[in-house]
């Protein structure tokens, strides 16, 4: 149900202009909404500067049959596409083929068109593009409005987002706006044989259990997906794609948050720990900040990136953006090497999806050995320099 609080309403007309189905009118100084044409997309609610419009929803899609295609949210960070976008397209391709539906990418931004070739090469058949200066930087409000409007107009069956800081901010906002189910931080996705539902697999209880989740009554079926778990397709410039552009201009005062300053914790083009194929982490057992230089050297030899446990951030030795674990980044590299890390559950949660875990720790009882594929009991100050020497000689 949609309601307008006439007392709060200033009849500014923003909702009238933005309504994608022209269901809102001002007549004789009051707003009226045509319930017949209103699709409850919620854009008016999110742009209203005085909060005068409200929608009460049930989390149920009335008719799920018209919903088709697999959508992927395209996240852009410092001028490039996030690697998780290609991974989502890779998985999305598989799901779309299984359902015999199309794989689509949604790109919202300012100057978004420069990414479309790349999206096409990685498998998107259809690209929905919304291009406007208001989307230059991510904001929950503007992006939620734009995506809600696209969903309402084009009715996707499945919608995937990367489980990044942005994805985990945006997806629940959209889900709540449209009354949709959402599964967080999935590590696997597949299509159920009998009913073609999206089967979403995710860890819970600190990675101690896995859960399979479905979302039978709402569309699109939405999930955020952990970075570095799914395989991208090899890019192919000959793949064909089509672009559908929509103009959705959100007035700037409907964006209720304002970025005052961005402080990068990362060098330009530096690979984040969550993106590394080999991650070498140091913990309190490293002993001192300068010892991390040894890990840098090892990382250089194994084309890896350096991460750390939480106490290292606390000590100020390494920036927070490199912390691995529950309150840091979740990694799933081909190889994870834990050096002087005890393996507390909060650390384990962040590394369980690694293909191979190697642990170096002087305490044979350290819990890290419970999940290590290869464990070396010993002093890391003796072991790592020797390992580096050996690797250098190769």
């Amino acid at each position: 149900m949609i309601k307008v609080d006439q007392e709060k309403c200033t009849t500014c007309g923003i909702c009238v202009d933005i309504c994608p189905v022209s269901a809102i009118e001002i007549s004789e100084g009051v707003i009226s909404i045509d319930r017949g044409s209103c699709t409850l997309c919620g854009v008016c609610v999110s742009v209203c500067p005085v909060n005068a419009i409200s929608i009460k929803r049930k989390a149920k899609t009335e008719d799920t049959s018209g919903y088709k295609n697999v959508w992927v949210f395209t996240e852009v960070a410092s001028g490039t596409l996030k690697p998780v976008v290609f991974e989502l397209l890779g998985k999305g391709r598989e799901l779309a083929d299984k359902l015999d539906q199309k794989l689509c990418a949604v790109i919202i931004g300012s100057g978004a068109d420069k990414f479309i070739d790349e999206l096409g090469a990685y498998g998107a058949e259809l690209i929905y593009m919304v291009d406007d200066p208001i989307y230059e930087n991510y904001s929950t409000d503007a992006y939620t409005s734009a995506i809600s409007q696209l969903i309402t107009e084009f009715k996707p069956n499945i919608f995937l987002y990367g489980a990044t800081h942005v994805g985990r901010d945006l997806a629940p906002s959209v889900a709540s706006n449209l009354g949709l189910g959402l599964t967080a931080d999935c590590t696997d996705l597949s299509i159920e044989e009998e009913d073609n539902l999206l089967l979403q697999t995710r860890p819970a209880f600190g990675g101690n259990v896995m859960a399979d989740i479905i979302c039978p009554n709402t569309r699109p079926q939405m999930a955020t997906v952990r970075p570095n778990v799914m395989e991208p397709l090899a890019p192919d410039e000959n793949r064909e794609y089509e672009v559908i552009e929509r103009k959705i201009s959100i007035p700037s005062r409907s964006v209720r948050t304002k970025i005052l300053e961005t402080i990068s914790g990362r060098e330009e083009h530096e690979v984040g720990v969550e993106e590394g194929d080999c991650v070498i982490s140091g913990g309190r057992g490293m002993g001192s900040a300068d010892k991390f230089e040894v890990l840098d050297e090892l990382a250089g030899l194994l084309s890896g990136v350096v991460g750390c446990s939480r106490p290292i951030v606390e000590l100020g030795w390494i920036p927070k953006s490199r912390q691995v674990g529950q309150s840091g980044k979740t990694v799933s590299p081909r190889l994870y090497i834990a050096c002087g890390i005890s393996g507390a559950i909060q650390h384990q949660v962040g590394i369980r999806n690694s293909d191979i875990i190697i642990a170096i720790n002087k305490d044979p009882k350290a819990p890290i050995f419970d999940i290590a594929d290869f464990g070396v009991v010993g002093d890391l100050h003796q072991i790592i320099p020797r390992l580096i020497d050996r690797l250098k000689k190769r």
Binding site: A59, D185, N208, G265
Partner: protein
Amino acid sequence: MNFIVCVKQVPDTTEVEVDRESGTIIREGVPSILNPFDEFALNEAIRVKEKTGGRITVLSMGPPQAQEALRKCLAIGADEAILLTDQAFAGSDTWATSFTLARAVEKLGKYDLIFCGQQATDGDTAQVGPELARQLNIPQMTYVESIEEIDDGSVICKKETDGGYQRVKSGLPALLAFISTPAFEPKIPSIMEVMGAKSKTLSQWGIDDLGDEDGDYGLDGSPTQVIRVYSPPQRGEGVIIEEPPEVAVDKLIEYLESEGII
């Protein structure tokens, strides 16, 4: 100013174990704790209240035992607590949880800021905060580490991004979801504070206090359905070696070769 802090009681995941045979979680004997992220958020609320004055209401949905977590919040420094507890709320997913919390927030009336933990350590979804913000149609900031400035009409936060930090400003009311910073040391309430908490109000609200229909809450109101829970594929028994450094490194190199890494 009026502050609402949403908290959850969670099993202490450091103690959770899985029955290797049945694949279910062994909950018996697992202690319950206040979700650490919420504890951080509450502490931040207390810190802000010391400057601005006002009142902190903690709000939780959960079984009657969750009172324990709320008592702890009162001892740490919250002024009042409300537990949303009803059979009808059982089985809520994040949507139904945020729906229920939203009805309670509306009933509470005027507020300036809602504090949430970024995620709860049992589900780790990080969805309830943003879903609640949207239900209430107020701005949200997630991954917040601290409040830098606050006045009658606005708040400035330092929030974490994938690659660093941002300082972000928002009008009030707003919802903030907090990560916990490494330097955070949970406050241990004194005996006096624990005793004092007993005289603070802890109310219980059920479905009749919140309105709407039965089907909006709990399992029936939840769009997502968990259809299977099982233990994660066991990692293969690892090889653990305890050898002099030279030998250990030889074996490590051999292992890296056998896995095709070098």
